[in-house]
Amino acid sequence: MKKTISILILFVAMIAVFSACGKKSETEKVRPKVIGFSQCNSAEPWREAMNQQMQNEAAKHPEIKLIISDGNQDNSKQLADVENFLVQEVDLLIISPNEAQPLTAIVEKVHKSGIPVVILDRKIMSDAYTSFIGADNVLIGEMAGKYAAKVLNGKGKIAEIWGLKGSTPALERHEGFVKALADYPDIEVIYEQDGAWLRRRGREIMENVLQRFEKIDLVYGHNDPMAIGAYLAAKNANREKDILFIGIDGLPGAEGGIQAVENKELSATFVYPTGGKEAIETALKILAGEKVERNITLGTRTVSLDEGK
């Protein structure tokens, strides 16, 4: 009997707390607009930086509330995340899809229900969105190629460490690089290998390259971690002074590429912007009823000790 009473008291207390919550929200005059951001995988440094930028930008605007969900690199999980945003009646959806096809249907559904959709970095297979924000990997690859040609004075041997073969960013970073080097017949790419974006693989590949080739002038990594991995391999073999290392991403922070340039491990990195700040800015414009561009291409910049940060 005592037990029943105590359970009852607990239940009443719960209801009291709950109804108090309800009252509080009624008295708030202006509810903040809710922006839901469905991130495909927060466990990558580049995407973590994206989340951070968005939170920093959103913190400046008290009229909006940003909710970030993590898809754990799993299409089903990200689909459920977006469904949750839909029932929560968010005012705007920002999504960086894990893969295009599995998430196209749900994004179409959100867009059809009248919620504006901003897509970040990776596209979907439909035009049911308000704005797409992404960087141009071909352009970044081209900048890397031009930089390489400049520092090599138009002559030299290059090893290229690919991002995951078959992935669009890797293909485009390669395409731009090759395009820029087309004008320099004395520059030769002597070795290409798939490093799957991983620092560990960058190191392994470079160990093989060092065994096989006596002279390498420059290593081009499709991202900074692989370029840094290659640098570590060269350092182990005491050959890091003869080789230049360049990478892409240029993340801030202790593990990022910008720090690696300052440490003189990389001679340059090319910033692949996350678009986090721009996404929030675009979202604010959409919520204010302003017109926004349908495709927003983000610029890049070179980070090297001679060109400044």
Partner: protein, 330 residues
Amino acid sequence: MKKKILLFIAQNEWIKPAFGFLGLFILSITFSPISNKGTLIFLKLDNLTNILRQVSEIGIISVGMTLVILTSGIDLSVGSVLALSATMTAFGIMDWQLGFFFTILLALFTGVVAGFISGAITSWGKIQAFIATLSMMVAARGFALFIAGNNSRNIGFGNGAAPESFRIFTNTYLGIPFPVYIFIIITIIFAIMLNKMRLGRYFFAIGSNEEAAQLAGLRVKWIRTSAYVFSGLLAALAGIIHSAQLYQGNPNDGVGFELDAIAAVVIGGTSLSGGKGTLVGTFFGVLIIGILSNILGLHGVQKDFQLMIKGAIIVAAVLLQEQNFFKKGF
């Protein structure tokens, strides 16, 4: 009076998970976030059907897992078999142009074969189920990657692509997504089988005392193998649904599904030592897991806390299953 209630709880193993479900449901309503219009988001029809759709794959797998665990076995291969079946479905309907019926048949058949191999290795090879299905888990994943050439295969509709009939898996009928119907029908069919049909009773018999079952003249090896075949078949069915939900057959999907299914079965009151458990309990176990990740997701709770809370819930559920816990604890 108190004795009677305790007896009732002891005799009906599904009561505790049902109460657990009810408690969590009320808790979720109490702590539901509120929308701009002042309605409870958790209770919205859309949200409730979302939960059911999201758990339907794990739910179907858990039915097969319950059968296997009842025979005091375990099936670790279900996640990989799901991926294999999803891959088969995508390739069958897109590249091999088998049409709706034969694609489904092929995918289900793949699951049956995988289940049969696991069961046969366990029964006749006398290898522990853990090891046998662990091998199948690795091998089926490998085979799925081989079929898919390490890539995922997208499913599109139209000429030279998937037939319109395949949309049945993604459509909604009477406001409820089709996979939910499959999940519920499968649960009912197998619950009837477990309670009313001979094969079902044999699963219990093997699980509680294999030697006695053998002496009573049961063909233990065949019966046990059939549990694994059902598990494979249901994992394959979940795989077809999975591919239809995502419009894609991905050989890398379904990682960790076996653990979710085992958790649901255990929360549902089925004993890992076999011979004791119910499908109704598993059904509530699946719903408990689904509601938990839904309400945590609605509150934007991140993965770290979600995993910790899930772990705590599983331990709490198992403690509550202990018969003596009630007597000692209260």
